[in-house]
């Protein structure tokens, strides 16, 4: 099977934040939020970035849309190099939308819905000004909002309706790629299902690619084509959805999947996996960052460079000395 060139290609993305202290704001340390992340994303594909708090999954998404400044790395969209740092941001922004987790804080409370949805069209000069009202109405219809709701303010909407607005805003510029940063985490389960179904319809109709950032493995198993498991700023395993959920191979992927509760009381397991907590990205352990919690760790894992993310015979990418 020959694959078309990927829509998005991210190589060695690094985002470090300086930790400053004292009167002179001296740099006393570094938070290695994203520490060398590479992946590709195909047209119409959903890649999920999963992991626990502080693993760098959200920072990766924010760096791609230019909301945090990457320290190093490159991204190519449709084969053309796009400087992730500095200029050329606006051209990239048109082709990438983002939907945020919190539909309450990501919409300006003082703007009407129609103004929120029109802003990207005005900023990027899309279409003639008098046609933009119709474009906004079409967007609203596409995400399941009534035309008269354009006059409303965000506080008059439920969480699910606000997330529909957030999705419409992300789609306003007809992007090829939408970054979904925990898009249903703040929603009740029945509303979550409405939004996941809407996202599936939009992907099918517009051929959208999704970079789905989520901590919810149930949601990820439902929507993703491929899954990248992140731990302390790095991808430790990248595999097809079915492969990963059937048989995770990185010891951290195993721990994460074993910890996720299953909605089936007949498949109840003993819930008491490994002790220990995720280390801080401000003090990433040497060697493989997972070694303090890993049952397989040996001297090799504790020192030197972290194991590289390398392809395996079964097609997945894995960063582990022992698997």
């Amino acid at each position: 099977m020959t694959l078309p060139p990927p829509l998005l290609e991210v190589a060695d993305l690094i985002v470090h934040f300086p930790v400053r202290h004292g009167l002179l704001r001296r740099r006393v340390g570094t938070v290695r939020a994203v520490d060398g992340v590479s992946f590709t994303l195909g047209r119409g594909e959903t890649l999920a970035l999963v992991g626990e708090s502080g693993c760098g999954k959200s920072t990766t998404g924010l760096a791609l849309v230019g909301l945090v400044r990457p320290t190093a790395g490159s991204a190519r969209l449709d084969g053309a190099s796009v400087a992730v740092r500095g200029g050329a941001r606006r051209a990239l922004a048109r082709r990438m939308g983002i939907v945020f987790q919190d539909p309450f804080s990501s919409l300006n409370p003082r703007q009407r819905i129609e103004a929120i949805l029109r802003a990207p069209l005005d900023i990027h000069g899309v279409g003639r000004p008098r046609e933009r009202g119709a474009a906004v109405a079409a967007l609203m219809a596409r995400v399941g909002l009534r035309p008269d709701q354009g006059r409303a303010f965000p506080h008059q909407f439920s969480g699910g309706q606000r997330q529909r607005v957030g999705i419409a805003r992300a789609l306003a510029l007809r992007p090829d790629l939408v970054i979904l940063d925990e898009p249903v985490s703040a929603l009740d389960v029945s509303v979550q299902a409405q939004i996941l179904n809407l996202l599936a319809d939009l992907q099918r109709d517009f051929g959208l690619a999704y970079l789905m950032i989520s901590h919810d493995l149930g949601v990820v198993e439902h929507v993703a084509h491929r899954v990248a498991v992140m731990y302390l700023g790095r991808i430790v395993e990248l595999a097809g959805r079915a492969d990963l959920f059937a048989a995770p191979r990185h010891p951290y992927s195993e721990l994460l999947l074993a910890a996720a509760p299953l909605p089936d009381p007949r498949r109840r397991r003993r819930l008491a996996p490994a002790e220990g907590e995720v280390a801080s990205a401000a003090a990433v352990p040497a060697g493989c960052a997972f070694h303090p919690r890993c049952p397989l760790a040996t001297a090799r894992c504790r020192e030197g460079a972290p194991p590289p993310l390398a392809p395996r015979a079964d097609g997945r990418l894995l960063a582990c000395h022992h698997r």
Binding site: G160, V191, Q192, A193, Q194, A200, A259, P265, E275
Partner: protein, 290 residues
């Protein structure tokens, strides 16, 4: 509830599950009051006791664990001092003995290095460690009942698994009953013995956990079960159209009728009573009852 039992109360935002727990603890916010009903703990009606008598029971016979451990902990006291205070208050132990009990309680919840962590302030601990401290405080006087309101919702999934496993172990050891309030059906399936499903302030279904997941009766419960992603790889989720009605504007009959695929004129006119179409399985529905 029986000793050692785990009862899950599930439902979406605004269904009344948190208010139920606060009412049981006599901790309702300003403006809310118990209009009717009784809460019996070991034969005593908590709602009829004096405030003073309830204070004696809270933290000793019945304890509560909240979703966000930072709001449950005093930021200017070490966690050890807060737990020791609860011990001293209810067991009348001296300072040294109360401190020792606090350190022991932190060890019981497998806090790493409990003697040192007892001297830490809440902000010096990770989210998982804070929730361990809150659970240690809830358990230190060996209550008969713990009310836990979304106790693991703010935690990462591996820490959630540790905390749920820990609580189950302590329940088995101490015979503590647990009321677990959650929106997460995965957590319910993992730990509950019995489940109550709430909608708009009412119990719409109650059953043993396996019975509920195998054969949910109420259309709302069935909708919730269908809405949970189970990794069928992109198959359409059965969403429930619409949203929960505002508590101030409940419909006249069954509150779920406006969203229900089975609703009839009767559902919109009269509220269905709880019936038991199967032994131990209660449901409030005109269309799916016996």
């Amino acid at each position: 509830m029986a000793a050692g039992e785990t009862l899950a109360i599930v439902g979406e935002s605004g269904c009344g599950k948190t208010m139920t727990a606060l009412a049981l603890m006599r901790l309702l916010p300003e403006g809310a009051e118990v209009a009717a009903g009784a809460v019996r703990l070991e034969g005593r009606n908590l709602l009829a006791l004096s405030e003073r008598a309830v204070e004696d029971l809270r933290g000793s016979r019945i304890a509560m664990v909240f979703q966000e451990p930072l709001t449950a902990l005093n930021p200017v006291m070490t966690v050890g001092a807060q737990i020791a205070e609860a011990v001293a208050r209810h067991r009348g132990l001296g300072r040294r003995a109360a401190w020792a009990a606090a350190v022991e309680a932190l060890g019981r919840v497998r806090m790493p290095d409990p003697a040192a962590r007892a001297r830490a302030f809440p902000h010096e601990l990770s989210g998982g460690m804070r929730q361990r401290a809150v659970i240690a405080m809830a358990l230190v006087n060996r209550p008969r009942v713990i009310l836990a309101d979304e106790p693991t919702t703010a935690l990462d999934v591996t820490i959630q698994a540790q905390i749920l496993g820990l609580v189950a172990g302590l329940q088995a050891e101490l015979g503590t009953a647990l009321v677990l309030i959650t929106h997460d059906l995965g957590v319910v399936a993992e730990v509950a013995d019995r489940v109550i499903v709430m909608y708009s302030g009412r119990k719409v279904e109650e059953a043993a956990v396996v019975g509920l997941f195998d054969a949910p009766l109420h259309p709302y419960t069935r909708g919730l079960m269908g809405a949970v992603p189970r990794g069928r790889g992109g198959a359409r989720l059965a969403d429930i159209p619409g949203t929960v009605p505002a508590p101030a504007a409940l419909p006249a009959g069954c509150a779920f009728a406006p969203r229900c695929p089975l609703a009839t004129a009767r559902c919109r006119a009269a509220r269905p009573p709880l019936t038991a179409p199967r032994p131990g399985h209660l449901v409030a529905c005109w269309e799916c009852g016996p």
